[in-house]
């Protein structure tokens, strides 16, 4: 018998005659969006010591320009599909991922600018699915600064709403604040391996 057959046979023998159980789903499921979600998301992301801005559509490019200048970001990775209207006209060197950047190249970039797929207000989370304007996973991992633009209609109140909207076939990265560790005497230190600075721009639908 193969290892597979042995393990499956062991499992079947082990659970024989054991009654099955119903799964009660009385917890809160996906909830309709409310006006308060923008503020809740902003508060919760700030709790992780990330910087958050809330702006109207027309103000995004100027805000991005200010943020890049404030951080001294010169070499900025901009993934394919990032909306051109949200990009400042100059002031930085734009790096694309076509052809694919090597990990070493990425490591020398000052920052990465992305959109996201979904955000979760209650937990202060943004989720990337490697889609338009986000790029592959390494792009938001190696540069030390991540600036992420979230549209209001992408905000879900809780985790169930986000799970329902996401496609499991895509590589997903849930990001809640900057990289952190509490391994040294339980003091939280921002930034071990991922970006040490996370900045989020929430664009209101007006």
């Amino acid at each position: 018998m193969s290892a597979r057959d042995v393990i499956l046979a062991r499992v079947r023998a082990a659970v024989e005659g054991v009654p099955d159980v119903e799964i009660p789903r009385s917890y809160r499921g996906p909830e309709p969006a409310t006006d308060g979600l923008v503020d809740l998301l902003a508060d919760r992301v700030r709790d992780y010591k990330a910087v958050v801005h809330v702006v109207e559509e027309a103000g995004v490019a100027a805000l991005v320009a200010d943020s890049l200048a404030a951080r001294g970001v010169r070499r900025l990775v901009v993934p394919e599909g990032f909306p051109e209207t949200w990009l400042p006209s100059g002031g930085f060197e734009r790096i694309g991922d076509e052809p694919r950047l090597s990990a070493a190249d990425l490591d020398t970039a000052d920052g990465i600018l992305t959109t996201c797929a979904v955000a979760v207000a209650e937990t202060g989370t943004i989720v990337l699915d490697a889609g338009e304007g986000q790029g592959r996973r390494a792009l938001t991992l190696l540069p030390d600064y991540h600036l992420c633009v979230v549209r209001q209609d992408q905000i879900e109140s809780g985790v169930p709403g986000a799970v329902a909207r996401l496609d499991p076939a895509r590589p997903l990265t849930w990001i809640s604040g900057p990289s952190a560790t509490s391994d040294i005497e339980l003091n939280r230190v921002e930034g071990v391996h991922g970006p040490r600075t996370l900045e989020v721009v929430v664009v209101t639908s007006g």
């Binding site: 042995v6 082990a14 659970v15 799970v163 849930w174 990001i175 391994d183």
Partner: protein
């Protein structure tokens, strides 16, 4: 109560101490180590507080807990079906699935996979399953070096040490010890520690960042575990904080994940429950910094999944004990355990410490050694672990059951004492002994069958006026 084993239960193996010393002996040593005690007390106290506040935020926490418990029980009941479904989904998405009956088989599979790539170095993200099977040692014997990349695991590896906490494995080290370890040993493994390294946590984290960055960029094979596997879609899920997990999952050309068969959930939707239960119970955060989900071969990577039994089907066969397989390794039970707080993780002589370790280790490893026979006594049966467990594992009941199966009079007499459970004054001890009463109210005076082994040597105490939890909170664990 007999366990139904198919195959070779004798070959189940787990890394750990030699098993010669019992829990009381190990614990007595730990209790004398005041650094460890101080760190543990600070750490567990902090996490307890955080957990309570973020759990309290969710109005539907009890519903999530019930759902989490039921999803796991349903999965375990139908584990064969879901394992096959998972295999299909992963394979369809371009991944390769391997099955390992025991530690030796898993180690051989992984070693062969690494050798096939021609590489002699691998990066690893913290995984209890690979620790359980002693993978690093097995790779080492074949000339392959495994580099741990989690900050705490790095501290443990550089210090040639054992993890002491599921979540914060280096909880037994303070900052000056960590600095010392970095300065002395980083150069043996790669990029040396920066000159004039201070013991500021931020400086130490920066040293780890620099030390590991080169390695992440250069290494072509990574080994991980997983927190969850979704049968329906073939998706694997890893929760982490630092980003070393993302590095390992994303950058290397080949990814090998070694995962216990109990980590399964049936559907994609089920994640909505566990992504709420786990971070809040674990680090006491609303969400951990990074969660990665991937399905099969992703972004051009070669992907192998090794499904590990290593005693789990034996635990599954046990009517009461199988609930231990619901465990999502959040470590909440460690953080509330008065015995753990005083004795530390090392005393349990296993990669699974604390209350969950006390029921899981003897079941996985059998009760052949003195140490494993003594583990079910490493508890005061206060019930705090059950209260915080996000999947409602009734640890005290399983402990009583295991005690009944394997009496260990020495551990029983000495257990609580050596575990630091001897509070300095008699009055405290008397009180401590009454704690189990809350639990034992539920059972008859003398337990039937093999359980008599436990009750025979105990006077069932009167029900205390004040519950243990109340007492613990009021007196800060007897400190006041």
């Amino acid at each position: 109560m007999s366990r139904t084993f198919l195959g070779m239960p004798g070959t189940v193996s787990m890394m750990g101490y030699s098993g010669k010393e019992t829990f009381p002996e190990n614990a007595a040593k730990a209790v004398r180590n005041s650094q460890l005690r101080f760190n543990l007390r600070k750490a567990t106290g902090t996490i307890r507080g955080r957990r309570a506040s973020v759990v309290g935020e969710l109005p539907d926490w009890p519903d999530l807990r019930q759902a989490g418990k039921a999803i796991k029980d349903h999965t375990l009941r139908n584990l064969d079906t879901y394992l096959v479904r998972l295999e299909e989904a992963v394979t369809k998405a371009g991944g390769h699935v391997h099955w390992a009956r025991d530690a030796a088989e898993a180690n051989r599979i992984v070693t062969d996979l690494v050798k096939a790539t021609g590489e002699t170095q691998v990066v690893k993200v913290k995984s209890m399953a690979t620790q359980e099977i002693g993978l690093n040692e097995a790779l080492h014997a074949e000339g392959i070096t495994a580099y741990e990349t989690d900050l705490a695991e790095l501290i443990v590896q550089l210090g040639d040490d054992w993890p002491s906490h599921i979540l914060v494995p280096a909880i037994h080290r303070n900052r000056s010890e960590i600095r010392e370890i970095f300065v002395r040993h980083m150069s043996e493994w790669g990029r040396p520690a920066p000159e004039r390294l201070t013991d500021e946590p931020a400086a130490l984290a920066e040293a780890a960042r620099l030390h590991l960055r080169e390695r992440f960029l250069a290494t072509k094979v990574a080994i991980s575990g997983a927190n969850f596997m979704v049968a329906e879609t073939g998706t694997l899920v890893v929760l982490e904080s630092e980003g070393n997990g993302r590095m390992c999952l994303t950058l290397p050309e080949t990814l090998i994940s070694v995962v216990g068969i109990e980590k399964l959930v049936p559907t994609w939707r089920d994640l909505e429950v566990f992504l709420q239960l786990l971070p809040r119970s674990s680090t006491g955060e609303r969400m951990n910094p990074y969660t990665s989900m991937w399905t099969g071969a992703t972004e051009g990577q070669e992907f192998h999944l090794v499904l590990l039994d290593n005693g789990r089907t034996g635990v599954l066969a046990d009517d009461l004990g199988r609930q231990a397989l619901r465990c999502i390794r959040c470590s909440a039970c460690l953080n509330v355990c008065p015995v753990y707080e005083r004795s530390g993780g090392h005393a349990y002589g296993s990669v699974y410490p604390g209350p969950i370790g006390a029921i899981l280790t003897p079941q996985l490893r059998g009760m052949g050694s003195e140490l494993d026979r003594s583990l079910p006594y490493a508890s005061s049966l206060c019930g705090a672990c059950y209260e915080v467990c996000p999947v409602a594992i009734d640890i005290p009941s399983v402990l009583i059951e295991l005690r009944g199966r394997s009496r260990h009079p020495v551990a029983e007499r000495a257990g609580m004492a050596a575990a630091g459970w001897v509070f300095k004054r008699q009055g405290r001890l008397a009180r401590a002994q009454r704690m189990g009463g809350r639990m034992r109210r539920l059972v008859p005076k003398r337990l039937p069958g093999p359980l008599g082994g436990w009750t025979d040597t105990r006077d069932l105490p009167a029900i205390p006026k004040e519950s243990f939890r109340d007492w613990w909170n009021r007196t800060d664990g007897g400190a006041r």
